[in-house]
Amino acid sequence: MMLMVSVQDLEEAKQAVIGRADIVDVKNLQETLIGANFPPVIKQVREAFPKEIHVSVTLGAVPNQVGTVALAVYGAAMLNATSVKVGFVNTDYKTALDILVESKKAIEGTNTKLIAATFADSHLYGGLDPKSVISLAKESKSDGMLIDTLTKDGRNLFDFMDENTLKSMVDEGKELMMSTALSGSLKIGDFDELVRINPDIVGVRGAACSDGDRYGGKIASSAVRRLKDELERRISGELDVYA
């Protein structure tokens, strides 16, 4: 299970890598809650680390414009991102599928993976059923799926979807040979559930900040290292997640 840490700039990315993050996920919290960062920032982060450190790019909740999103996805691939995440909120299923299909075509021949994302709390915003991420990813031949949350008020992923539902989705995604990722204000206190669900990737930000504040705080290597250590204690069996 890989630890993905959301970062806003190179300095945060360095802190994440020093703390042994497997993936740095470049986003821009100033542009909506989960917006895309600027190409020079992504380029700087990608060029700072070897390929073994995955650099993912978040496009956030994308507009319902197939060509616009496909071009942004292409841009992420040209920046050598390991993966690019395309999220859907107020998008109908068919449009979301069209966007993913064209996005996949746009990065053909590159090493960048396409990740379809939905939000566990989408219903609060009149959005797409988060469970549809599996069929969206399957039908579009995306490389992976992510379930995140939009609400950043202290509630987290498990306030909106229960362990059994998430486990079933992750298992189905794995059976389809997709990469599976869960995110959404996750903390060490959620790690037992997460290890039982066993996604390929666990994403964090607030818990990786020096003061636990995803907005005001900055990523701190000590906080990232603690998260990585706690995850490994559970994966290795040192801590029994079924106890």
């Binding site: 298992d171 794995k174 040979m177 039982r196 390929d200 069996g237």
Partner: protein, 74 residues
């Protein structure tokens, strides 16, 4: 009872499932395949896969960080 063996310790989690999926068609219902995996995440994946596919994990042996799981085809 027939029993085949898969060493999946060098495979990724998806590789473990792919190896099991590949082995199943040639097996008869009630026969057993043993799979060796390299840690708890792979073990969790095998249990989940077996349950979803109607198979049964009949045995689990631990050796250090390795696990050998015996799966009966359902």
């Amino acid at each position: 009872m027939d029993c085949s063996f898969i060493d999946a310790t060098s495979k990724s989690c998806k590789g473990v499932i792919a190896a099991l999926e590949g082995a199943m068609p040639a097996m008869q219902k009630g026969s057993e395949v043993k799979v060796k995996v390299s840690g708890i995440p792979d073990k969790i994946d095998v249990y989940a896969w077996a349950k979803r596919k109607g198979h049964r994990v009949a045995s689990e042996d631990k050796n250090g960080t390795l696990y050998v799981l015996g799966i009966i085809k359902g």
